[in-house]
Each structure stands twice: as structure tokens, then as C-alpha cells.
Amino acid sequence: MVPSYVPLSYYLLLSGFLFACGVVGFLIKRNIITIFMSIELMLNGVNLSFVAFAAHWHALAGQVFVFFVMVVAAAEAAVGLAIIISVYRTRETLNVDQVNLLKL
């Protein structure tokens, strides 16, 4: 099978599009869980450009960095979801517009 070639810029555009979707979701969504998922989408977009550049420059360090990004994302998701649970317990809401006090 002939190895096919995909331009690097396509990967970068897809990665940028995913990141932009994450930013838009972060800004327009009102549900705190959906906002959190938008952050994960942004991290995924960055990971894609990491892997694309790693493949382009034949440097494996990019893939190791993707690994670290995933670890940090996992830790962040765990802590963030715990914060969401405790916020929901005290406020009874998931709408970020109604969470406007740090202390009740």
C-alpha cells in the first residue's frame, strides 16, 4: 500500500478548530459541566497539534508531552468535578450565572 501524505496544515487547522470550539463553548455555555467539557475539548485540540508536529519533525518528545497533558487533564477533571459536586450541594444549581458568591 502506498503511504499517503496529509499536509501538516490540515492537522493544524483541525486542531485550531477544536480549540476554537472549546473557547466558544466555554464562553456561551451556562452549564458548569458543559463548560468543563469545553476545557477538555481545548486540551484535545492542543494534543492533536502536539502529535502532528511530533510526526512532522520526527521528534518523540511531542508524544511524551501529550502524555503529560493527559495526566494533568485527568487530575484537573477529578478536582474540578469534585468542586462541581460540592458547589451543587450548597447551591442546588449548575447554572454559572447563579453562582456569584464565593461564600454563602
Partner: protein, 163 residues
């Protein structure tokens, strides 16, 4: 093809009102991204993507959504100035960046499946050159676990509260 699945899933994530639908479309995005990584020759990253992201993190999300019984989100009216200025600005910026990227890196291309992304090489790199960051990450994970447990426990049971 995987790219179109990614794009569709991301748009669906924005369009859906219910968080569980957003979560499912995010899972589709992550699975498609794993396919992209596989095409780029990064087998290890693809496997970790499926296991950690599409597996662990998304299960966590779905659990929290179901635990909190999250319903439809109510829309709030955004400011009209933001819509009037933001949408054309975003389109212009996106088109500009896309044009520049396509123009200046159009000739270089990535061979599909040609990278020696073998797990053995990654392990060599990870445990020799990046040993210190790796150990620091384990401490980070430990702190995150403890923080999650403390935050998610019931307020009465949490230590250090006197009220």
C-alpha cells in the same frame, strides 16, 4: 474522515442543550482523535487517549451528570454588541489564520503511519530524559486524589470545619 467526525462532534457539543448529549458527542470527538493519532503513527498516544480520555475521564463526567441529575440548561440572553462584533471578528480571525497556515506550510506533509512511535522508544524517552517530570506528575496525581476526596466528601465529615 476522522477529521469530519471530529468537526461534527465538536459542533454537536456546542449545539446540544442537554449535558449528557454534549458528553456523548465529546466521546465521539475523542474516539475520532484516537483514530487520527493512529494514522499519525502514534500508537501509544492513541491507546492512552482511548483508555484515559474516552474511558476514565468521560465516565467521570457522565457519572457526575447523572449524580447531579443535570437537566436542560436555560439560555441567557447575551449582549447584542458581543454578537455583532464577536461573530464577524471571529470569522475574520479564523479565515486569516487558516489562510496563513495553508499558505505557509502547504508543501510539507506528514506521512501516514511512518513515525517510529513505538511504545519502547517512548518509554526510553519517558524514563530517561523526562524522569523528573514523570515523578512530579505522580505527586500531582496524589495531591489531586486527596483534593478530590476532601472536596467531594460531605461537609459534616470534612475535617477542619468548625461551624
Amino acid at each position: 474522515m476522522f477529521g469530519s467526525v471530529c468537526v461534527g462532534g465538536a459542533i454537536n457539543l456546542l449545539a446540544q442543550r442537554h449535558p449528557i448529549n454534549s458528553a456523548l458527542s465529546l466521546i465521539a470527538v475523542m474516539a475520532a482523535l484516537a483514530g487520527e493519532y493512529l494514522l499519525l503513527g502514534a500508537e501509544f498516544v492513541a491507546a492512552v487517549q482511548v483508555i484515559v480520555y474516552a474511558g476514565a475521564i468521560m465516565v467521570l463526567f457522565v457519572f457526575v451528570i447523572m449524580l447531579l441529575n443535570a437537566g436542560e440548561e436555560e439560555q441567557t440572553k447575551g449582549s447584542r454588541v458581543a454578537v455583532l462584533l464577536g461573530v464577524p471578528g471571529m470569522l475574520t480571525g479564523g479565515l486569516l489564520i487558516g489562510w496563513v497556515v495553508l499558505r505557509h506550510s502547504g508543501t510539507e506533509s506528514v506521512p501516514i503511519g511512518a513515525l517510529p512511535g513505538h511504545p519502547t522508544d517512548i518509554a526510553q524517552l519517558l524514563f530517561h530524559d523526562f524522569l523528573l517530570p514523570f515523578e512530579v506528575t505522580s505527586v500531582l496525581i496524589l495531591i489531586a486524589i486527596m483534593g478530590a476526596v476532601v472536596l467531594a466528601s460531605k461537609p459534616e465529615a470534612a475535617p477542619g470545619r468548625f461551624d
